[in-house]
Symmetry: C2
Subunit: 331 residues, 2 copies
Amino acid sequence: MTLKVLASQLGVHPSTVSRVLHAGPRGARGAASSETAQRIRDMARQLGYTPDPQASSLRTRRTHLLGVIVPRLSDLVLALMYEGIEEAAALSGHSTFVMNSHDDEREQRRKTEVMLARRVDGLIFGDAHLDGRLLPELAGRGVPFVLMNRRVPGFPSATCDDVRGGELVADHLWAAGHRDVAVIAGEPFASTAVDRTSGFTARWRELGGHIPADGVVWSGFDTAGGREAAEKILQTNATRPTALFAVNDFAAIGAMGTLRSHGLGVGQDMAVVGFNDTSLAAELPIPLSSVRSPLQEIGRTAVHMLREVLDGQDVESVRLEPTLFVRESSA
Amino acid sequence: MTLKVLASQLGVHPSTVSRVLHAGPRGARGAASSETAQRIRDMARQLGYTPDPQASSLRTRRTHLLGVIVPRLSDLVLALMYEGIEEAAALSGHSTFVMNSHDDEREQRRKTEVMLARRVDGLIFGDAHLDGRLLPELAGRGVPFVLMNRRVPGFPSATCDDVRGGELVADHLWAAGHRDVAVIAGEPFASTAVDRTSGFTARWRELGGHIPADGVVWSGFDTAGGREAAEKILQTNATRPTALFAVNDFAAIGAMGTLRSHGLGVGQDMAVVGFNDTSLAAELPIPLSSVRSPLQEIGRTAVHMLREVLDGQDVESVRLEPTLFVRESSA
DNA sequence: GCACGATGCCCAAACGATTGGGCAGTTCGA
DNA sequence: TCGAACTGCCCAATCGTTTGGGCATCGTGC
């Protein structure tokens, strides 16, 4: 079914059909009489005509394709954000490509080029590195993009207010009477890690607390990272902390494993708080306190921001509010 | 950068450029002299020419786009399969759309139509329902597709050998001395659930065991489903089983929660075995025995099969071998 | 010296949609 | 009654590639 055969069915010119089908129901202004318009719409529906996006974007220079690059979709956090993206993109008639970069700069580049070769209208990066060279370069080339989940100063991003999240945890642990704490800080190239950690430590000091130099341990975001970091904390800290803040639920779960194997009771000998409140947190044998960030909402927001960028508006970064859920692991 | 400007740069006709750039390095047979060919390739690289996929697929009627529909990408199992898909698709120059259908037939339809409107070359369904009407319909319309993860008789699929997986669990639990068992069976519309369950029960009976009617409980695939199912099993079974087989790790985790809240020790008062061996299984406080299925491999296989279908070959369904990992929850 | 097959290119017509610019015919105001 | 403005539509170019079909030129065999 093409415009041409549809038009010839109706005894009308393709251009007329095109105009009618684009005018929205409010009126094909000057393109056709309202009865012709109705005939066209009816026939289009009846024959199941859908415009060929390849053909139309060849002419219009817009593909309605958005590229999404994330570290890995098997990370629940990113998968949920992507659900938000898919939803919002569909609402505005866009389709999305997702690719995994595994947080590797070469892959980021490669996948970006693949996306650009596909002529995406714009990109959403969920894997921005604070020290990366890719983004400034793309901005220089005039490629439209926004960041999601992680921010980088100078570029528009949709994130959780991670600093605030860290503060919430500090307030909670302080109020619960803890005075010796340690942080499993995540990867230093990710703003999520840096902001959550700095939000926590800054507030902790504000409250009058002290955090020793080896009380902040950088690590992977996964269970293995959490395990190793917790091990390190137990080994190196002069006074054993009574509470752990892991900037990621999976790292928290890994840490809980380490505690267990050292014979320490989670929530009793040591409080643990995670971040993101993934669906697992509440389901653990000892339910994990965690900061919930509005993951789908972040994804949706990223899409809206990117649409604004594509419309030529300039956009402000958005930080969405997190909420702390206190559970047995720190109660 | 278009073919035309590239050609005029070189003082040569666009068609010549096109032919050279498609001929592969082995020789532009009759299209140009080998030195012209080299000049063309050099200039193309230098100017960073990439062909416009919209334009080319307009002409060739092939988009090199594959559509992937899954219940939800936030399900780790599907996310990992998708990683395999992405990898394999990239290797053959295809790009992939993913969409979530939430296991809802209306959504499946809607997303399928969106994909077809985008003119994908073929589809991979990760959300097939045994009793669905969509697939036969699509087959009738001549839409090329393959199934992944779940199978439906009559259509080509790449799955784990779920029956075999169920048998492995039956063998293990029987050998460990269990005689009263129950199954948290998952959703009856999914072949994964049905096959794992039937593999288990058939082998169990083969071994001389007996499973009462209320020993098989259908449920959701998530923790909530597992929790409810376990609750039901504890309530209704005349003799309390000593082992539980959940066809999904998340359901198993939910079940473990229920056992705990009933004061039952996992692995001591009751053995639990899950399925898929998601990365969490080994990390739980009481590590979960689970059947590992080769998730990425399933994704890759689905892509290969779809490519064969697109090439007009007819393909056989593939069942990949699972492996049981025994851990503390059933040792 | 001529037919013939390579070789090395160019021409032009698609593919399906969009869009600026027409051009008749009608309506309306003066 | 005439010009202007509007209505309702058609024409044709265009987006960037691909591809069947040329058409010279050159070398070769006889």
